[in-house]
């Protein structure tokens, strides 16, 4: 199940491991809507195409993608800063 956690320093952590396209993108957008401006969201994914689609969808909506980082074999962490 997709889970949303409150991480350190007020940032949110969205865990969508186990989900394939297009759900990681949909849930990322939803999680971003729960953030204040300049808040940070970390998305954990394990679906390779989402490494590209999640950052692209976020920047398409005007948010700032701070990084895509591999945190384990087949697991990535995408860090997004909310804008607007």
């Amino acid at each position: 199940m997709a889970r949303l956690y409150r991480g350190e320093g007020g940032k949110l952590v969205l865990d969508v491991r186990g989900y394939v396209c297009p759900y990681p993108v949909i849930y990322t957008k939803k999680a971003l809507s729960r953030l204040e401006e300049n808040g940070v969201l970390e998305v954990l994914i394990d679906n390779p195409p989402s490494c590209e689609t999640v950052p692209k969808a976020a920047s398409e909506e005007g948010h700032e993608v701070l990084g895509v980082e591999k945190v384990g074999e087949g697991v990535w962490k995408i860090t997004i800063k909310k804008k607007r």
């Binding site: 997709a2 949303l4 991480g7 957008k29 729960r34 390779p48 398409e60 895509v68 074999e73």
Partner: protein, 419 residues
Amino acid sequence: MVVLATLEPEVAEKKTTRVRFTKYLQGQLSAIFSPSGWPEWLGGILLGLVNILFFAWALKPFTIYTGFLNWGQHFYAKIVGLYTFGENLVNPLFERTSVGDIGLFLGALLSALIAGEFKLRRPSRVIDYLEGAIGGLLMALGVVLALGCNWGGFFSAITALSMHGYFMFIGLIIGGALGSYYVDWRARRDLEAVELELEEAPPSLASSGRSIPRYAGLLALLAVLAALSWYMGIAPGGGKFVGILMMGLFVGVVIQRSRFCFATAFRDILRGGAEFRRSARLQVGIALGIIVGSTGVLVLKYMGYVDLDAYVKPVGWSNIVGGILFGLGMVVAGGCASGSLWKAAEGHIKLWVALLAAVLSYAPLRYFIREYAGWIYGSKISIVSSLGWAGGIVFIYATMVLWIMFVLYLDYRRGTRYG
């Protein structure tokens, strides 16, 4: 001592700048096998090229479900003891489509292992297993009606200059859009269940699946490839199948790298879903692949290298209905025919379920519908026979360019709306 002291910084500098060859190789490889993948247009063109090559080599286009038929027939005959769905079974390692499928699976696995993207991924909810099974079933039924999957009924059908590809194309556009309604519903339903926990503890990284050591995996895969090639190669006429295996491998690598997902391409294009831009890029890639592939097959057919009517299949309403069912099924399952093989190779267990459902249902569905409802199929229409050599290829170019323009227009409109 003085001399040494002056030399030392230089030596130290050299040590830090020189990289070991293996590290250098890793760097080169990880640029090609990076998480962002290859562009979709490149994937489409490469798939168009291998489509021509495969047709010339195997004397049939690159398709997928005939392999599933072979596997299903083996299951029913050898395990259940039911020979109704097929007799005189061909060894799966000497059946052209089946070998291509095995190649695709191993190619996607190879690519995923090199990129460090292989992991056993258990779906997070039970409904995913159900989606895999229902999606696989819908796809198998769609293939029976459309006379092919997204390859044999659409991509490879148009490149083989058969009209039935266009009919499934229409069905896929509708079915994909229907699928996107389902995705919306499922996402809404899931979002209600998403909890905002006020815990400090971040999710554990080790919990959601298992990966295998990359080098062990690569070595095992190469051993399997070598064993398969050897086994096929020593059989009389078996060299052909080694070539087919290699081409399937190529398709698998290209599809895994360019994330060439027909489900995404048709799901988000009409209704502008969450991954609309990717679906637009994929549609352009598919159309480019069809342009490249049909040009090559035109040459093969014109020069008489393959028969003019090779892979020309019946056309009718059943192809559209099949396309709709297949389109819906692939969106629900999360992968088309090639996508199921690729994602299963990446370790998505949901797609294993989809593959299993498709393999087990395709042979009986195909048998019963052909036996008792054969009237649903239309008659064969070859694009070249009806429009001529020049007319036929111009028709394909024109329709594909128009489709690309339409897709780009949708993208443009969306772009302006979002400022």
